[in-house]
């Protein structure tokens, strides 16, 4: 199926092609007579309005008879419109010619049949005529096909992307966002591994070392061994706290059991700088993926603010406007956040996977504002 043509029956298409042959006559007369007036600036708006009418006719022809769907609000520039009309005149005239040839061929065929019936035609002659006619018919039909495709292409180029074009774009978009999501997941896994290795595991090794030293020092210096045991005990509690934090960074369990508002409260508790959360998304339940994405947007933004921007305070504002949840995070730090950094790229992928948008505004000297908009449908 050729791009740009929607679902339409063969009959309707044929009518559309026929009309497509006559419409150039509509353009040709005013175009030839009034075209030179386009050079006169005062007449131009009037003439352009006329041209737009004619183009609108063409557009309706395409959507009525061929089922094309064009984007509603699509402003076509003047030059492109005139170019289209000129191209249509050419294509329409050629289509008329090809159709005329088809009719002419039909007439010849009828004459041939009559000749056969009257017996004035020899077999060999008939065969020759059939062969020649068949080839010409094939060429003619082929030409007709090419012209209808051209017609569709011209309309698409002028009136903007058709449904097919839009679908193709959407597929490209999805393929991109899918790859980005996979990459974001890998980045997060790497971060989890680093968290476990550099935090929890090192602490556990250190703890085991403390115990080993205490055991070895028992005979030499019982008092010191005692002190080491105390230290080991404290260290064990620190390891537990660290493990809890790592687990929370991997996935906040509160998100599932208590929802976004509670989980954001958890971020505020864990954050080193004062964090004010205003949650005004109403009581209606949000889809789980949207909640998760919103949570990670906030948690990443807050982590960045605390780590890199030397911010003294962060404010988070969550609002819901119809089907759109918007999350706004602002800090008073020194700005200069890199939108292409791995953290923000991962967030953007996460948001894009839900067809949302993420805007980061972080001029040097601050403040940094991060706005995520997530559709909840």
């Amino acid at each position: 199926m050729r791009g740009g043509e929607g679902e339409a029956s063969a009959g309707r298409r044929f009518v559309g092609v026929l009309l497509g042959c006559f419409s150039p006559l509509l353009f040709l007369v005013p175009g030839l007579v009034l075209g030179p007036l386009l050079l006169w600036p005062r007449a131009r708006p009037l003439l352009m309005a006329g041209a737009r009418r004619l183009a609108a006719l063409e557009r309706s022809r395409r959507s009525l008879f061929f089922g094309d769907r064009f984007p509603g609000a699509y402003e076509v520039p003047d030059r492109r419109l005139l170019r289209y009309l000129a191209a249509r005149v050419g294509a329409g005239l050629v289509t008329g010619l090809v159709l005329g040839l088809l009719v002419f061929g039909e007439v010849l065929a009828v004459l041939l049949v009559r000749g056969v019936v009257r017996g004035s035609l020899g077999w060999t002659e008939l065969l020759g005529q059939l062969l020649l006619g068949g080839v010409l018919l094939f060429l003619d039909v082929q030409g007709l096909y090419a012209l209808t495709a051209l017609d569709a292409r011209l309309a698409r180029a002028c009136f903007g992307p058709s449904e097919q074009e839009l679908l193709r774009r959407r597929i490209d978009e999805l393929a991109l966002s899918r790859a980005a999501v996979v990459q974001a997941v890998d980045t997060e896994r790497r971060r989890i591994e680093r968290d476990l290795h550099d935090g929890v595991q090192q602490r556990l090794v250190a703890l085991a070392m403390l115990l080993g030293r205490a055991r070895r020092g028992r005979e030499r210096d019982p008092q010191q061994a005692d002190a080491l045991l105390w230290q080991a005990h404290r260290e064990a509690q620190d390891v537990l706290a660290e493990l809890r934090d790592v687990a929370w960074r991997v996935y906040p369990a509160a998100l599932d059991s208590l929802g976004l508002e509670e989980a954001l409260g958890g971020v505020a508790q864990r954050c080193g700088i004062p964090l004010r959360v205003r949650f005004e998304a109403g009581d209606a339940p949000l889809p789980r993926p949207v909640e998760t994405a919103a949570y990670f947007v906030v948690s990443e933004a807050v982590t960045n603010a605390a780590k890199h921007s030397a911010a003294s305070a962060v404010s988070v504002h969550v609002t819901r406007d119809g089907p759109l949840l918007s999350v706004r995070v602002e800090d008073d730090g020194r700005g200069g956040a890199d939108p292409a950094g791995s953290g923000l790229t991962g967030l953007r992928s996460r948001v894009a996977a839900l067809d949302g948008t993420l805007r980061v505004d972080s001029p040097l000297g601050g403040p940094t504002t991060l706005v995520a908009e997530l559709p909840c449908a």
């Binding site: 595991q201 250190a206 070392m209 030293r213 070895r216």
Partner: protein
């Protein structure tokens, strides 16, 4: 002995320093990265260097590269490398220059204080210390499955302890055997694996490791 440490986790670095001092060793310096390590070792000439493989800035193999360089430049310095995971290629790079005064241990092995201290002593004495995990993986993954299968369980045990870098006497102690029994088993192992009884103690280990890696 005189030791220089390179370990990025502050907690662990401090713990190691304390442990070594308590054991009567002298810690000349302790670093959180490998950047100045080679230069410092050249300047201060410690007996043994202990280095973590994965350190800042890239968290890949900084420590290992420094260790290999130290082995090239100062062969008389013992080098003990601590690795996060069992990486055969890392072990191979480290042992490329022979099996004298060298160690490759899993980081968690540090938690077993006695084993860690023992490994340091062995390296200091000119031997090798290869983590049992590493050896075990080599044995399990070895392409020489048939000759290995011909070993009796006892012979396999002896082989694994030997490959970690222990002397015959130490093997005897660990497996509660007499010294002559160990020698008997080892002869059988070398015959079955068609390993030449290389001269020199560490060359023997190297022969075994190379065999297992091949």
């Amino acid at each position: 002995m005189r030791v220089i440490l390179a370990e990025d986790s502050t907690l662990l670095r401090e713990g190691l320093v304390r442990l070594l001092v308590e054991e009567g060793h002298e810690v000349l310096a302790a670093f959180g990265d490998a950047e100045t390590l080679v230069a410092e070792v050249e300047a201060r000439r410690p007996d043994v260097v202990v280095a973590d493989i994965r350190m800042p800035p890239t968290h890949t193999d900084e420590g290992l590269r420094a260790a290999v360089e130290i082995r090239e430049r100062l062969p008389e310095t013992g080098v003990l490398v601590l690795s996060q995971y069992v990486e055969r290629s890392y072990a191979a790079r480290l042992l490329a220059a022979g099996a004298e005064r060298v160690g490759y241990l899993l980081k968690d092995r540090v938690a077993q204080v006695e084993e860690f201290l023992d490994a340091l002593e062995r390296i200091h004495a000119g031997g090798a210390a290869i983590d049992p995990q590493v050896v075990h993986q080599l044995v399990v993954r070895s392409t020489h499955a048939d000759p290995l299968a011909r070993l009796t369980p006892r012979e396999r045990e002896v082989l694994e302890v030997l490959a970690q870098g222990y002397t015959n006497a130490a093997i005897a102690r660990q497996l509660h055997l007499s010294l002559s029994a160990v020698e008997k088993y080892l002869n059988a192992v070398f015959d079955k694996l068609e390993l030449h009884r290389a001269d020199g103690y560490s060359r023997r280990i190297l022969a075994v490791l190379r065999y297992l890696e091949a």
